[in-house]
């Protein structure tokens, strides 16, 4: 049997591509090396509780907002999304707390109360965010004469833009204080990545009542209903090329699948390694991809909370014990910035059962255990995890006094955990690093030198639930045409 499309990797990008292409009538096969589909959206269960790994909140779900049309098309609006408080993100820097409000006007009004001299600058800032939200879809408009990708927006430095727009350094740190959801890095972060990672949350912000596997299961059910196949425990080992095109995906279990089009949702460097012999994929492409750098990883502490000790808080709390939100993770000192996020109680109670603490972690911190396997990394690794977890808890106690006494146990994950479960090099949380100094090199196209091999996922253009979904649209536009995708996003 020959499939129209074979997709490698069932993270969000792979699932979304499978959904769109199978709904368009294509015969789709999705191959996943793990025991379940989902990639970074998967949760893990301990003591009857499901802990999320990569997913925490999403923005722009109301009608007319960034993700509404595409999430509706993907069947994801029927999930139990609950809107976060008006003040959805709160940033505590040392002893002061600042709030991000939903709705662009209210966002400006709220921050202008703390920074009255910056009201005009805040207006300019949200106008820039709105423009970027609008432009993201222009790129998919088949009638638009504009180039298919806004390299101009990628050529601007986020840090430079912010320092030129605002005079008060504290406000800059506040505005960037919710940006643990991207790699804040002065010398590389493009304004487009920064803005895209922030804007939809200001439109409206949502938490899922349940874990990320609700998203996975919904997409999987739809794909199967559209006639698509999903095979787990099927690790692709080789992509076979014949006469300049891929013809087979060969798995480690010996199975081989024939296809017309192939989409890889695994890291591009890993994808290149799967194509062992090729007339089309030359050394130059392989070397360029292998030379790209990865963003940092994340350290997560999943806390189990004693019953009836901590009330649910319907926002995300970012806590810093010093004002520098841009470089704190580079310092060799105790954790000084953390995101505190809690799960919506599913039993209707006003008390939470679990809280997540997240902080960036460089690969270099995990490198000593590079060659080890899950569960066999040794005592020093355990000690490192314990130390970092304790530091995260100490910091979170600034927001939740007495937190330590509410904890009945906790689980941690590091970039190493990520690497070994999702096969992402260096356990990168947000994929390949985009660099405003060199967008042509660092923002990858879904196309590859092999005409029937396409890429998708967070490594290409944008990361996060929103970014990966946008990237999915670009990948599918290569296969179905821009017009098809434009009709989806414009409903």
């Amino acid at each position: 049997m020959k499939y129209d499309v074979i997709i490698i990797g069932s993270g969000l990008g792979g699932l979304e591509c499978a959904h769109i292409l199978s709904r368009a009538g294509m015969n789709v096969l999705l191959l996943e090396r793990g025991t379940q589909a989902g990639g970074c959206l998967l949760s893990y269960k301990r003591l009857g509780l499901a802990f999320d790994t990569g997913f925490h909140y999403v923005g722009g779900l109301y009608e007319g907002q960034s993700l509404h049309a595409i999430f509706e098309y993907l069947g994801l609006l029927r999930l139990p999304w609950e809107r976060l408080d008006t003040y959805f993100d709160r940033v505590t820097i040392e002893d002061r707390t600042f709030a991000f409000a939903q709705g662009y006007d209210r966002f400006v009004r709220t921050l202008a109360e703390d920074f009255p001299a910056e009201r005009e600058a805040l207006n300019r800032y949200v106008n820039m965010l709105k423009r970027i939200e609008e432009q993201q879809f222009d790129m998919l408009n088949p009638q638009s004469g504009k180039p298919s990708f806004p390299f101009k927006l990628f050529e601007t430095s986020a840090y430079q833009y912010l320092t030129e727009t605002f005079r008060d350094p504290l406000l800059i740190n506040v505005l960037c204080g919710t940006s643990l959801k991207m790699e804040l890095r002065r010398e590389s972060l493009p304004l487009f990545t920064f803005a895209h990672g922030n804007s939809s949350f200001i439109e409206s912000s949502w938490r899922l009542k349940g874990d990320g596997s609700l998203i996975v299961n919904s997409l999987v059910d739809d794909i199967r209903r559209h006639g698509g196949e999903i095979l787990c425990n099927s690790e692709v080992q080789v992509l076979v090329e014949k006469d300049g095109k891929l013809v087979h995906a060969v798995c480690s279990n010996g199975e081989s699948y024939e296809g017309n089009i192939f989409i890889s949702n695994v890291h591009p460097a890993v994808t290149c390694d799967l194509v062992k012999q090729s007339d089309r994929m030359k050394k130059i492409y392989r070397n360029r991809i292998a030379g790209l750098e990865n963003t940092f990883g994340m350290f997560t502490v999943s806390l189990c909370i004693r019953s009836r000790t901590l009330k649910y808080f319907n926002w995300n709390q970012y806590v810093y014990d010093q004002p520098n939100v841009w470089t704190f993770y580079l310092e060799n000192s105790p954790v000084s910035g953390v995101l505190v996020s809690c799960r919506i109680p599913e039993d209707g109670s006003e008390y939470v059962q679990q809280v997540d603490l997240l902080t960036p972690m460089l690969w270099s911190k995990c490198e000593p255990w590079n060659m080890t396997e899950v569960g066999r990394r040794g005592e020093e690794y355990k000690a490192m995890k314990k130390r970092v977890a304790e530091e995260c808890i100490i910091l979170a106690e600034r927001f939740i006094p007495g937190l330590r006494d509410m904890i009945t146990g906790y689980y941690t994950s590091t970039p190493l955990t990520y690497r070994d479960y999702t096969l992402t090099p260096e356990g990168t949380a947000y994929g390949l690093r985009k660099d405003f100094r060199d967008p042509v090199m660092t923002v990858l196209s879904p196309r590859t030198p092999i005409p029937n091999l396409f890429l998708t996922g967070q490594n290409l253009m944008l990361h996060g639930l929103h970014g990966v979904t946008m990237t999915t649209l670009f990948t599918c536009a290569e296969i179905l045409g821009k017009e098809h995708i434009w009709n989806i996003v414009k409903n």
């Binding site: 030359k282 050394k283 130059i284 360029r288 030379g291 060199d438 090199m441 196209s445 590859t448 030198p449």
Partner: protein, 83 residues
């Protein structure tokens, strides 16, 4: 850097990286045709020149580079300027 050295080095690198027979690299040969470049692999060419000579070729200049001679000229005139 002498013109002759540039020619030799560029040809060696392109032959190795693009896996193309270097005898095809005559001064008047078309770079895109010889290396089978499309819009995607053009990025690879820009990348390797940037990496080797620290020269960033903007899109407008790239359009002017048609032949191998044009490419050598460009590298010769820009080498050492971009730091």
């Amino acid at each position: 850097m002498a013109r002759e050295d540039i020619t030799k080095q560029v040809n060696a690198i392109l032959a190795e990286e693009f896996e193309v027979d270097p005898t095809l690299f005559t001064p008047d040969a078309n770079v895109k045709d010889t290396l089978s470049l499309d819009s995607l692999s053009l990025v690879d060419l820009v990348a390797i020149i940037q990496q080797t000579y620290k020269i960033k070729i903007p899109a407008t200049d790239l359009r002017e580079i048609q032949t191998f001679d044009n490419l050598y000229d460009y590298i010769e005139s820009h080498f050492g300027q971009n730091g």
